[in-house]
Symmetry: C2
Subunit: 421 residues, 2 copies
């Protein structure tokens, strides 16, 4: 399979891009279209690398708008947890398909997921054709029996799904230090090192988590994970709102990837401290952005998340020069791809063919003084007209095959939750 | 001219909507399509009132992405002011057309504008067909000669454009207390009262403005305007970030309309205090939302602004129940229309026919537990498929006649600014 994109704005010039199999083959003007299976007219469009969503719970698209504007406790206890208790593997399949549909439409080609009923998510990602780093939620609530069950389940998932598909990577998903025992976290650390598995965890999302950790373990959360041996460049830590200087040093030195989720943090009102970007980026920490799940966002649009991140960080630091557009965009692309070991997140020969086309005739993209600025501040995911992942054309001219069926199935699955409202 | 929208979700039910001339005539199932000049299939769509943008500088679309990520002083002195010095009336016409195009596409049917070269804006609004409350920037820099010039210019604009078009209202635009003399503000207050004109001003955007006002006048900005006699329900005050209790009382009691611009406030980093929504809404103040100009936003999408406002206010007040979706949406519609005296901002017989159709098959709009929630938190302006203003169909199925020409003209106008980058 080969694709030729003609006359597209790429890396600052109008050129052609040839894709062969899963990789970018050549970038040059006037490449021979006869050799291509599919020719795309890129005129009036820009080619940019696909975006990385560093933290989400994809199937929670089914709970988009299910319950909003509530205090955290009743929101979880009266709405989200009872609804999740009814979730089946089929629901997770349907919800993850809807999520992938939205991600293809808004330009995300790689997402880092943690959720229930992993086989449903694996099936959805394989069908939809974007890259998923998929982990099962591991929660043992400090109960030995539950821990053994969870360990067994994770091992069976690894056997069933690991290395079976180029798009799916299975990771370990210990939920958080307040829901997972030390013994389980130690098991996660050992298995991750032994098999080279990524780990996905929630970390220091709220101040309460820090207070409780100090009380229980006499250490702050990052120190506790360090003590367990969980800190490494295989770890993806979502939120990281409450960090002290020593924790920032530990995270940076160990190469942990920190995922900032600005929209979720504002919506769930996690308190006055939100992801210390300035201090972390000065240290050279690995930083990604994420949407979090659709119950706390309520979408998966990485360009919207990029705008929230950039503006919130500027304002928080009282520094309008912080997190400029180009840097924000590199977090969505280069930083993300490198962190997950999938190339360099750029459009260059040899790189994975994960490419978006952006409509330059969208009114919000006019004028075009600086593409990076327009992407981060002016347009949103709706400016994406084509999405290519792993060399496959998933959306062309805004059309995704099978879209209406995926939407109909998601609506149907949502009915049983709507009845409980 | 009559339009019939069939089988659309409106006010919670599937129904038909008949529009006759500039108003909504009837809402009922199965209205006779033979009587309509235009029949729109509303299946899979929701009809909602058009949105109000309470504060913008429309023609600044020409400076979208021109200069970002800079400190305020060099941004203004090295980029924005030199560029604005080159602006012609033709540029303002072209830039306002681009702004109206974007607003039609994202669902804004009424905007409150303040900018240079007013005749260019008037011409653009008349052609584009949405409602503009248009004011010329009034800046005298405390110079008597400039003041006389500005007064003369405003009077000639009123004579030329006032009451000539149902879509255009001419207002007075004293820029701010730090750029306009007391004498000029007194003239504005008198003329506004005499002729019933709206007034559009920037107010207490930064702490510095308050500090300087106290120093110069021995009063805070709102007290100063009160002293001048400018506070009334004809006044639209943009920003209002730094208010004390007495100022909030004064603004509420006098019926001033306060316009919160969350995206601009974050991007320009106006300091830690941002629009005290909770305290103002408790008092019953009239509150609107605005985008501000495209040089500090960088788009005109009111649904994006609604999400920023709702989430920022929740987080600032540490209260996730603050500014819930329904309330936010009422600010964009009912509050906006009532403030400008253009009906009630609802879809009901007798109301102005300013109606949007929203795509319910957009993945971000699935599932549909609560339309308000999806509008504010999940989708953005790209979910708008049709825009009707004053009974005229301006966008149908995502198509706006003349769009490519407007975009080409804006690109051309932007060239001369690009050369100065």
């Amino acid at each position: 399979m080969s694709i030729l994109i003609q006359n597209v704005l790429v890396n600052g010039e109008i050129s052609d891009i040839r894709i062969r199999g899963p990789r970018i083959d050549q970038i040059a003007p006037s490449l021979n279209p006869e050799e291509a299976d599919e020719v795309i007219n890129g005129k009036g469009q820009a080619a940019v690398p696909g975006f990385v969503n560093g933290h989400t719970h994809a199937a929670m698209t089914l709970f988009r708008g299910f319950a909003d504007d509530m205090e955290l406790k009743p929101w979880l206890e009266e709405k989200i947890w009872p609804a999740e208790a009814k979730l089946t593997e089929e629901d997770v399949y349907v919800g993850t398909r809807l999520a992938c549909l939205e991600m293809i439409r808004t330009g995300t080609t790689l997402f880092n997921d943690m959720y229930w009923h992993l086989p449903g998510a694996v099936k959805a990602v394989r069908e939809m054709g974007i890259r998923g780093i998929l982990s099962a939620v591991f929660i043992d609530l400090f109960d030995t029996e539950k821990r053994e069950e969870q360990i067994e389940q994770n091992i069976s998932y690894l056997e069933a799904f690991r290395g079976k598909d180029p798009l799916v990577q299975i990771a370990l998903g210990p939920h958080a230090i307040y829901t997972v025992s030390r013994e389980a976290l130690e098991w996660v650390a050992r298995l991750s090192e032994e098999k080279g598995l990524f780990i996905h965890i929630h970390l220091s999302e709220t101040k309460q988590e820090v207070v409780d950790c100090l009380k229980a373990h006499g250490m702050r959360p990052v120190e506790y994970l360090h003590d367990i041996g969980l800190l490494s460049d295989r770890l993806f830590a979502a939120h990281c709102n409450y960090l002290d200087e020593n924790e920032m040093d530990l995270l940076t030195e160990s190469g942990v990837h920190l995922v900032h989720n600005p929209v979720s943090n504002l919506k769930l009102t996690v308190g006055k401290s939100i992801f210390p970007y300035k201090a972390l980026s000065k240290r050279g920490a690995s930083i990604l952005l994420g949407t979090d799940g659709c119950s706390s966002n309520n979408n998966l649009d990485m360009l919207e998340t990029a705008k929230f991140a950039s503006l919130l960080q500027k304002w928080q630091s009282d520094d309008p020069t912080l997190l400029p557009a180009g840097e924000t965009l590199r977090i969505l692309t280069e930083a993300g791809y490198r962190a997950f070991g999938v190339g360099n997140g750029g459009i260059a020969p040899g790189e994975p063919a994960d490419i978006l086309l952006i409509d330059l005739n969208h009114p919000q993209n006019v004028p075009l003084y600086h593409l990076d600025s327009n992407l981060v501040y002016a347009v949103n995911g709706s400016a994406v007209t084509a999405t290519i992942c792993n060399g496959k054309l998933l959306m062309k001219e805004g059309v995704i095959p099978g879209e209406s069926e995926i939407i109909a199935e998601a609506r149907e699955a949502a009915r049983k939750f709507a009845r409980t409202l």
